[in-house]
Subunit: 467 residues, 2 copies
């Protein structure tokens, strides 16, 4: 392949889908003897993981998070470390940033449970400490256990949660984009001027859901607004993503359904006046890779041998509300629409109508769980599928979903990444710059002009005052 | 001096009083050419500072914090980097923990602005990641700018803030001490039992100020409850400290006044059924040290030459409400009680009645600001004063208040620490174990039995259910 051919290829972006806990996408696999996720309390474990990913030139670690946990089946969940325990992932990021130079971090926080100003200060701090290697995955929590932990109020209805989240974004943009002008910090010792007071502005927000007045305590950070990620796939969720998101995570049962969702989100973004290419779409990717396909299949079977059938079906019930164990295994699922998704990311994708039996649905789920696109094979198989799916669905990248750590990442980095690089599908070296520049292009460290958050900059103070 | 003599000496504990920002205790000193505090956005700067302190065998870095900032004189404050800007200090701790092995960290959070469960999860995470090197400085925020940033509600009256804080502590203890029994985590792969569900308990809290139900997501960490620090010196604040605190920061205008406060806090602790020796009392200590006293005095004068008179008097006005510039310089302060303290730590100490003129008060303040006990001298002078004050006031330790960084810490570590060690006043090597063990003694990694938080352990479930 010539250099010209390589140039012409669309390069993919790669993240990993992580939680700061043991449980992940295969219930029960904590018991695998090679599973080091049980070391999640240990900073050295995480540093080791981050360094493997940086060696593999990964774009970012995406940390899902929720204060909540599954409501039912407490005993089983504790025995199988399923959905609990876990720690706050945000507090890993500074240590991982200090241990890497390029790897970026996307952190999930909820517009329901964090005060807008506190959240804004945390992300501004992280943007400084990571030198622009931070993204924010915006969620509106629907967990009833989280509601109980935070005082037991009623859950806010789904669409209203998004209205509230829209306003939350405005408050956040005001602080990140509107508080300090670019050249407000002078650091002029001779003239005793640290900052020019005329270039620092008071934010005023009086809205339906939030009131906030003051100045962000953090000076301008490399990206100001962290790269905004979103994963809601309801109609209202997609409208929110089309307006705010720069990175979108979508999961669908087939590549065709996924392609349709991606077309839809790009169309909505264009209608909102944004560049549809400035929304980078990722999907989940589960990979078991070995030098040969046979070895990969053996390895996959060995992983699944540690799966807990009971905990896996409980995770299905927890998300869909359907207890497959309680239904006649030979009855049909016909015309039943179930909602599938990740409990951790509040992401749901509609099943299409299916003529499978309950037994078949259970067996499918035991093979796949809530994983995304899956490939079990040789490095060439992995590269073939990635190239094919990228093209077919107009994807920008993938979020790798591990089985056991660090092996799942190490195998991918050692075996699959070199083939992706050889085919021109993935970077050989990191580009310079912030996470946003890596995703959107050199020089785009800050929100693009056509992003709604850019309207809150002091230069456009008319619109800033409107909020 | 023989080994026996050394043993007999009471060893002191040493912390540093830090903020994640530029401003600190001498307004205007950011402009000093050697002042690297302006690098506070940079993780490498902080790692360098932490490593100097660990080389000096310091116990901990104490991070003051507030969402608020001084309300008046915005222009001056921005020009002099006084009280603003700043970042969230909690997000430094994981990176500093990964860069050190023994140094501990005390983080300030507010019972007014953090939800109890979110705060509990953050500290449990930090206790895991630091392996028991974490303390919590509990504050009840009185800042009106913080209130504006968080929605503009009215400030809660002082004493009611402490009632609320008392209940906040109960909720926190329930999660830290009561959720998981010590041997709940089995990690038994063969029998597929990660945790024993019978040893994990649902917390239920329905109080006057807080409601919260659920299980802490974090498994038992080395200390469970972080080491509790407190710095309020009002009557209600001292009652709170005597009940909850394991480390207390007090500041007083003279060693005699300080000695009285320390007697009072130990007496109150004993009345509350606690061991008065399990409250470690620290005071602020400002040191300029050089090989000779003359050099130290020259260095001190050089530091103060960068002080801003205007910003210094503004910081006085911001805390006391008294604008010294607006008063007749020759009038007397007689019978005026002023409140002095740190804006960042919500700590106030009463001035005794003074017969000084306004000019004299201003001149005193320009020399000393809100600093604590101060010694400008040779390493021997520093050790003499530390020994004398420790004895006179029954102190357990000092919080070093820097002038410029890293020089203030480097000078102390290189010059003063060896003399303190030689005299048996300070450790030569770190003890093993957690922060609590370092302060209270080997084996005391967890709250002592007579601490009220210990009453929320599952073994004492009667009292746990009462809350």
């Amino acid at each position: 392949m010539t250099n010209v051919d390589k140039k012409a290829r669309k390069q993919i972006h790669l993240g990993v889908f992580e939680v700061n806990g043991i449980n992940h996408l295969t219930q029960g696999i904590w018991a695998h003897p090679g599973q080091e996720r049980v070391r999640y309390n240990d900073l050295e474990y995480w540093i080791e993981i981050a360094r493997i990913l940086e060696r593999g030139k990964f774009d970012f670690m995406f940390f899902a998070d929720s204060y909540g946990y599954p409501k039912k089946g407490r005993e089983l969940l504790l025995r199988e470390a399923s959905g609990t325990p876990g720690n706050d992932p945000m507090l890993l990021i500074p240590a991982l940033a200090a241990s890497t130079r390029h790897l970026a971090f996307t952190m999930t926080t909820s517009t329901t449970y964090e005060a807008p100003y506190a959240n804004a200060r945390r992300f501004a701090t992280l943007d400084h400490l990571t030198r622009g290697r931070i993204g924010w995955n915006v969620v509106t929590t629907s967990s009833s256990t989280a509601a109980d932990l935070f005082g037991g109020g009623d859950l806010i209805p789904h669409d209203e949660r998004y209205d509230r989240a829209d306003e939350y974004m405005d408050v956040s943009y005001k602080y990140w984009e509107g508080s300090w002008e670019d050249d407000a910090v002078k650091l002029d010792r001779e003239n005793r001027t640290f900052a020019d007071p005329d270039k620092v502005h008071q934010v005023r927000h009086e809205g339906k859901y939030f009131r906030s007045t003051g100045v962000l305590s953090s000076t301008p950070s490399p990206q100001r607004t962290p790269v905004i990620f979103q994963a809601g796939s309801s109609d209202r969720g997609r409208a929110f993503a089309a307006k705010h998101a720069e990175g979108v995570f979508l999961k669908a049962p087939t590549v065709e359904v996924l392609a349709g969702q991606i077309r839809d989100i790009r169309r909505r973004a264009a209608e909102a006046g944004r560049d549809p290419r400035q929304i980078k779409v990722f999907t989940g990717l589960s990979v078991v890779v070995a030098p040969t396909r046979e070895e990969a299949e053996r390895k996959h079977a060995e992983y699944l041998s540690y799966q807990s059938r009971e905990a896996t079906l409980a995770s299905y019930a927890s998300v869909t509300g359907i207890d497959l164990n309680a239904l006649d295994p030979d009855s049909f699922f016909e015309n039943i629409h179930t909602e599938m998704g990740q409990t951790h990311t509040d992401r749901f994708t509609k099943h299409s109508k299916t003529r499978k039996t309950v037994r078949e649905v259970a067996d499918d789920f035991l093979q796949k769980g809530f994983r995304g696109l899956t490939v079990i094979g040789s490095p060439e198989d992995v590269a073939d599928r990635i190239a094919e799916w990228t093209e077919a669905a107009d994807l920008d990248g993938f979020n790798l979903e591990p089985y056991i750590l660090p092996d799942s990442y190490r195998d991918f980095v050692d075996l699959a990444v070199p083939v992706l690089q050889e085919r021109g599908l993935f970077r050989r070296e990191y580009e310079a710059g912030t996470l946003r520049e890596r995703l959107l292009g050199e020089g785009i460290a800050r929100l693009p002009e056509n992003h709604p958050g850019a309207g809150f900059r002091p230069a456009l103070s008319e619109s800033r005052e409107r909020g």
